[in-house]
């Protein structure tokens, strides 16, 4: 009971949760795609748009000073949040996709040549495949793929065969957006480092469900989005070890990323500004700072207890539903994200019916066609829970799922 009332306290901070869709109480379980926003984030965005608005780093006037300090303050918050060793290692981007594209583009310009390879895993989101394919196309390098086993776990037994000196960078997900599996990134980082290969971690899902310590992980790059961690959409972060950020050529050219410009020669600013050309989403980034403050206030013991209850309940109910296949291992090493199919009921049909019952899920290929291929299906249905989801909502999810299956089969 105490559990429930505390989660309900969190819910009161999220106005979007308190609405009806199709006449039913909203049960929002598409947090893997994007999370809802707490009042503190919404209010800061409103406050800045309503008055505290001046372009950052450019002017001496009061408004510019205020926004600059909010923007740079958010950089400090992110630095502390992921325990980077210095604030200059935090680059603000538009999201995980933008962060990965930045590295893929800049890194490949300098470090990828014909005959080289990039290693990704079979479980990646398209955003951690396509930028590298594009980089390989430009440079003549090839993409190597670490396969998944039937439980959706990395085939670590194949790692040593795939990793050799021709691999110039490894880019893998902390947590799979489809399988919810928390990947053993520490092991991959350690193996890659033994061959002096840098590692990028796609943390889009990972940053939301665990505390990330980039110094402890020792990865060269860690990319994540603000909008999945209760921050505004269009915000993202690229952490990079400072000496790597110094070595990489700039990505986009424009204002704020330069030291001096003439028609003969332009010199670039030091990181992080070197990678922040043009007016950034300074309001969004400031509000990401507010989202981090929110996350830090969460009672982690309570949250993980609630999460555990939900996972146990859903797994128990799933095992009793005939024809249901859950993808990704059923163990504790998993975030509360469930991708599944039901025999005889198409995921899209289930999602449409459940939407009419107020339950918001994701269906389709979910930006991961290779994962669909791996498990021999065209599409899946996914329910992903966040800190504000209750056991009661999990019950409604199961009830609506059972009703939809009954209608379809």
């Amino acid at each position: 009971m105490e559990n429930r009332s505390s989660i309900n306290n969190i819910r009161t901070l999220f106005p979007a949760l308190n609405q009806r869709v199709n006449g039913k109480k909203l049960v929002y379980l598409d947090n893997g795609a994007t999370s809802q926003k707490p009042l503190s984030v919404i209010e800061l965005v409103n406050e800045m748009n309503s008055g505290v608005n001046g372009n950052i780093h450019r002017a001496v006037h009061e408004l510019s000073a205020k926004t600059t300090s909010l923007y740079e303050g958010a950089r400090d918050k992110v630095k502390n949040f992921i325990n980077a060793s210095q604030r200059e290692e935090i680059i603000f981007t538009a999201g995980t996709t933008a962060s990965i594209n930045l590295v893929a583009s800049s890194f490949s310009q300098k470090y990828l040549n014909p005959g080289d390879a990039v290693l990704v895993s079979e479980g990646e989101h398209h955003s951690n495949i396509v930028p590298w394919q594009m980089a390989c196309d430009r440079t003549g390098a090839t993409l190597r793929v670490l396969p998944l086993d039937d439980n959706g776990c990395w085939r670590l037994d194949l790692l040593d065969t795939l990793l050799d000196s021709s691999v110039k960078i490894v880019s893998v997900a902390h947590v799979s957006n489809i399988l919810g599996v928390i990947n053993p990134i520490e092991k991959v980082i350690e193996r890659a480092h033994s061959l002096n290969i840098p590692v990028l971690i796609d943390g889009a899902q990972g940053i939301v469900h665990s505390r990330v310590d980039v110094q402890k992980l020792d990865c060269e790059f860690y990319a994540f989005s603000g909008h999945k961690m209760y921050g505004p959409t269009g915000t993202g972060v690229l952490f990079g070890k400072y000496h790597w950020l110094e070595k990489l050529p700039p990505y986009l050219g424009g204002g704020d990323m330069i030291e001096s410009v003439s028609f003969e020669k332009t010199t670039y600013a030091q990181p992080p500004l070197k990678f922040e050309a043009g007016t950034p989403n300074f309001i969004g980034m400031a509000a990401l700072g507010a989202a981090i403050d929110f996350i830090l206030q969460i009672d982690t013991e309570l949250a993980s207890k609630n999460e555990k209850e939900i996972v146990e309940y859903v797994l128990k109910e799933f095992s009793a539903i005939e024809g249901l296949t859950l993808y990704g291992q059923h163990s504790q090493n998993k975030i509360p994200l469930f991708s599944f199919t039901v025999k005889g009921a198409h995921p899209t049909d289930l999602a449409m019916l459940m939407d009419k019952m107020g339950v918001a899920l994701r269906s389709g290929q979910m930006c991961s066609e290779p994962v669909m291929d791996r498990f021999g299906t065209e599409s899946m249905l996914r329910a992903s829970f966040a800190v504000y989801n209750t056991l009661e909502e999990a019950k409604i999810f199961i009830l609506s799922l059972k009703r939809a299956i009954k209608m379809l089969t």
Partner: protein, 143 residues
């Protein structure tokens, strides 16, 4: 009956359902009775691929009229397909090209034809129109 009249008929049918669940139950029922393409005829060439679901469409031109067969792996999509086939199949190309499909909106299913839904339905309608255009041109040239 004209296309408009068939559309009106469908609108009246759907008007008897009060809630969404009933409406979808009816679509599922309809989906089970679509003129189905046999698995052997489900070719890459008549596949319309969406992120959400897949649609197959086959057309035959006979006596100045086009007859459509279609299928989908998703049953609600199939139900909507059955409505489209009821409206379009056995019509002359010119009639099809002039149809504007207002009925979809009137029965509240327009969200299923949004480009972002990616279920193949919008592409299917485009394909139906493309067939009609091609057959109309063929008819014209053979006159």
């Amino acid at each position: 009956m004209t296309i408009k009249e068939v559309e009106q008929e469908i609108v009246e049918e759907f008007a008897i359902f009060e809630d969404w669940m009933d409406k979808y139950e009816y679509l599922i029922e309809l989906g089970k009775n679509v003129p189905v393409i046999s698995d052997g005829a489900k070719l890459e060439s008549n596949l319309i691929k969406g992120c959400q679901s897949r649609v197959w469409l086959d057309a035959e031109f006979k006596d100045g009229k086009i007859f459509f067969k279609a299928d989908s792996d998703a049953i609600i999509t199939k139900g909507i397909i059955s409505l489209l086939i009821r409206v379009f199949s056995g019509r002359r190309p010119k009639e099809i090209l002039e149809a504007n499909l207002d009925f979809i909106k009137q029965i509240g299913l327009q969200e299923n034809l949004s480009p972002t839904r990616a279920n193949g339905l919008l592409s299917m309608i485009k394909q139906i129109k493309a067939y009609s255009l091609a057959y109309a041109a063929k008819e014209e040239s053979s006159k």
